[in-house]
């Protein structure tokens, strides 16, 4: 990634830093390239700088250092109203003194679009989010989900190429959120717009995005497609943050042939996939997804290391079984198994043997 001026770059953050107070860097060193038409999600814990990044892109904050480019042109010197970026705010920011129609008509009016054209576009945008019959109401007369859809329609009505959304679904209940997630991704793909989406809900990030940027501490910890992010986390923060995860602590014994031999703190040895560990003697955190743990030793490859485990709790969840084990001194080791006809249902107190493919067991930084 030496040359960031790649031809398909639509949005580019180039070594961007941001500080509000001159003492701490909220955004440390942001490099991000976004091709046209991509749906990128910024995911990260509260205070990790996601909104700050959006605000810099939209033009309401200036980068302390570095360059942000849109279509190859630096936008640091373009005022916000000339950037042509649609934005959905966390609190929707629908103008309370205007009707829904007036809200949608506003961006068209300031662009000098004629009345009949305006009305047609407003109607089309409202129909797109199935709010066609609400045009005459005020924002306060709509439910949260309806307001959200209007905010979306308003951000899209002037046909921007880039749309930014800052936790737009945060205030909705689960069911509505799922429906809206689906609608937003559909719309984005239909219209071919580029979307930068901010959330701290990881399910949302995984289900909606083409790529996800995991933020923490002002830097991108990992930028990948959802499946890569889930299955191949590059460090222990990402492994912990995305999905459920079992962690065992230990020390690297040796690394060879792409396999790391790890001695867990209780002395047992396991084979792991070395990710960001390099030399013997290093502390490591081994991470295994609960659904990749094998409880039937017969299904493991020959010679694979296994661990002894004691069943502490068995939870029946319908589609899956969730079993809590004690493994190598860790009482919170979770195993998820599919509710298949031949699947054994374990009982607390039972002693079993577990194992996994070395590929699924990732040795990460401690």
């Amino acid at each position: 990634m030496a040359s960031s001026q790649s031809s398909d770059a639509f949005v580019e953050f180039d070594r961007v830093q941001k500080s509000y107070d001159g003492e701490t860097l909220v955004v440390k060193d942001l490099n991000l390239t976004l091709p046209k038409g991509e749906f990128l999600t910024m995911l990260g814990p509260s205070g990790s700088g996601k909104t700050t990044c959006l605000m810099m892109l939209a033009g309401f904050e200036t980068a302390t250092h570095g360059d942000i480019r849109l279509n190859g042109n630096s936008i640091n010197n373009i005022p916000p109203h000339k950037r042509g970026i649609g934005m959905v705010f966390q609190n929707y920011a629908l103008f309370p003194h205007m009707t829904i129609e007036e809200n949608l008509s506003f961006p068209l009016e300031v662009r000098g679009i004629g009345k009949s054209d305006r009305e047609a576009k407003v109607m089309r945008a409202l129909n797109m989010v199935e709010m066609g019959s609400f045009g005459k109401r005020r924002p306060a007369q709509l439910s949260g989900g309806q307001q959200q859809r209007v905010a979306l329609a308003r951000a899209l009505v002037f046909e921007p190429e880039l749309v930014l959304m800052d936790e737009p679904l945060g205030a909705l209940d689960k069911q509505l959120r799922e429906k809206m997630q689906f609608e937003i991704t559909n719309l984005a793909h239909e219209l071919g717009i580029t979307v930068v989406y901010v959330t701290h809900d990881q399910t949302e990030a995984l289900t909606m995005s083409d790529r996800v940027a995991v933020f923490d501490d002002g830097i991108i910890q990992q930028l990948d497609t959802p499946d890569k992010l889930y299955e191949e986390p590059q460090n222990s923060f990402v492994a912990q943050f995305i999905g459920e995860n079992n962690t065992l602590e230990g020390t690297i014994k040796e690394i060879k042939n792409g396999l790391a031999l790890v001695q867990l703190d209780d002395g047992e040895l396991i084979d792991c996939n070395p990710i960001n560990v390099s030399k013997p003697g290093e502390r490591t955190r081994v991470s295994i997804r609960p659904e990749r743990v094998e409880t039937n030793p017969a299904r493991l490859t020959e010679g694979a290391h296994t661990l002894k485990a004691e069943v502490l709790e068995f939870i029946y969840m319908g589609d899956i079984f969730r079993t809590r084990l004690r493994v190598a001194g860790n009482d919170e080791f979770i195993v998820k198994t599919r509710n298949a006809p031949d699947q054994k249902r374990m009982t607390p107190g039972e002693h079993i043997e577990i194992g996994w493919l070395p590929r699924d067991c990732r040795a990460l930084d401690a």
Binding site: A58, G59, F60, P80, H81, M87, P96, A155
Partner: protein, 432 residues
């Protein structure tokens, strides 16, 4: 009226024990209502006694002046009807009749009673309200009444030729009934001529309409100036980080905590012709020493001092509507393609209108009735209608005229309030 209510009556809802639901509801709420009413009762009584009653009294006074018909002894409080004989003559003869001997005889009879009651001054004053120079005629005539002989007409004319003036008789006829609208006429620079027709008073005696117009104009100007100054301050207050905005708020409120007199006097110190501002201008060579600006004891003084004093009443309502306006509205507008000016005009400003309305109404109403500042710094030119009301209350003691002026002022404010309600809507008002 077809199916469900076949017998024409809707089915009555009842409670579980069969009582009508509505009656039960009313009974259930009655107790709560009684308690709520008891809670507001003290305030209600307070307002009735201190506010509604005095205003009613004032309105009554503006159309009622018994100076010509009733005497009340200050010591005993005994009330005696006076000028009764003349009243009888007025009732028997239509307006415009030339006063004959019978009229003067009645007048003589009444004068004797006045003399006895020591009340000629009171009656003279009442007539004097509408016809200058009449008071002394009454006191003089009453003094001579005992020594008068018929024919009384000549006797009175002997005392003063003016007793034949038809204008005087017109005024006495009007004054002979306690209820009159003449004070309102006077408050509008009108009076009745000898024939009882309503005419404007002499050009050089027209003051009230001019003062009303000036009061209205200056109040509008002051309201506008406070808006002009207050809007940016309120905006700054609402958007600055808290520790700065608190400091600024103290600066806004500081004048509030200073006595009105101190504030007004400090403006005198600043603006008078030997004051700080003039001295500074002269010192900088901008003005010659002999043509210092006259900024005090005229309208400029009134406007400057009142704008300053009333500014917080504009800033606070504005601040209270601006504070909760989320900055993301303007940001949204900007991201939707509006320039910062359009975003202000179309998005920010409309949301502050209720505060502007409240502030403007507050400042305007206060300004219209303002008294002390114009009295101190206004000179002759910067007086407002309240100063004249005060003058009639305290100096000329023509309370009825003062009441009429005050009632007109009240009516004017109510009309403006009504207009405001029609144009902007009173429920759009946000005082805080």
């Amino acid at each position: 009226m077809t199916d469900a209510t076949a017998n024409g009556k809707p089915e009555m809802l009842t409670t579980a024990d069969g009582k009508p639901l509505k009656a039960a509801l009313i009974r259930a709420q009655a107790r709560a209502r009684r308690r709520a009413f008891l809670l507001v009762l003290p305030l209600l009584a307070f307002i009735l006694i201190t506010f509604v009653m005095p205003i009613g009294q004032m309105l009554h006074q503006s159309v009622y002046n018994p100076g010509f018909v009733m005497h009340e002894d200050i010591g005993s409080g005994k009330r005696t009807p006076i000028m009764t004989n003349l009243k009888v003559w007025f009732d028997e003869n239509p307006a415009g009749t030339e006063p004959d001997e019978a009229a003067f005889a009645a007048l003589h009879e009444d004068m004797l009673l006045l003399r006895e009651l020591r009340a000629p001054g009171q009656v003279g004053t009442r007539v004097n309200y509408e016809r200058g120079g009449s008071r002394s005629m009454f006191t003089k005539a009453a003094r001579r009444a005992e020594r008068m002989d018929p024919p009384y007409k000549e006797a009175f004319l002997d005392v003063d030729e003016e007793w034949a003036d038809p204008e005087l008789w017109r005024v006495m006829r009007d004054a002979s009934s306690a209820y009159t609208f003449n004070f309102y006429l006077a408050a509008l620079d009108r009076s009745k001529n000898a024939d009882g027709e309503i005419v404007s008073v002499d050009e050089n005696r027209q003051i009230y309409i001019k003062l009303f117009t000036r009061t209205l104009f200056l109040s509008v100007l002051i309201t506008f100036l406070t808006f002009l100054l207050g809007y940016p301050i309120a905006h700054l207050l609402a958007t600055l980080p808290l520790r700065y905005s608190n400091l600024l708020m103290i600066f806004v409120l500081l004048p509030f905590w200073t006595s009105l007199l101190v504030r007004t006097t400090s403006w005198m110190v600043l603006l008078q012709s030997q004051g700080v501002v003039n001295d500074a201008l002269v010192g900088m060579g901008i003005l010659g020493d002999d043509n210092r600006l006259q900024m005090m004891y005229n309208q400029i003084g009134t406007v400057v001092a009142m704008t300053h004093i009333l500014l917080p009443f504009m800033v606070l309502p504005l601040y209270s509507v601006m504070r909760p306006i989320n900055p993301s509205y303007v940001r949204a507008a900007r991201s939707l393609g509006a320039t910062s000016w359009t975003a202000f005009r179309r998005i920010y400003f409309p949301q502050t209108v209720p505060g502007i309305g409240a502030g403007a109404l507050l400042v305007f109403i206060l300004a219209v009735g303002y008294y002390i500042t114009p009295a101190l710094v206004g000179g002759a030119d910067g007086q407002l209608i309240s100063n004249l009301i005060a003058f009639h209350m305290q100096n000329s003691l023509n309370w009825s005229l003062a009441a009429a002026l005050a009632a007109l002022l009240l009516a004017g404010i109510l009309i403006l309030y009504w207009l405001y309600d029609r144009l902007i809507g009173i429920d759009n008002l946000k005082l805080g």
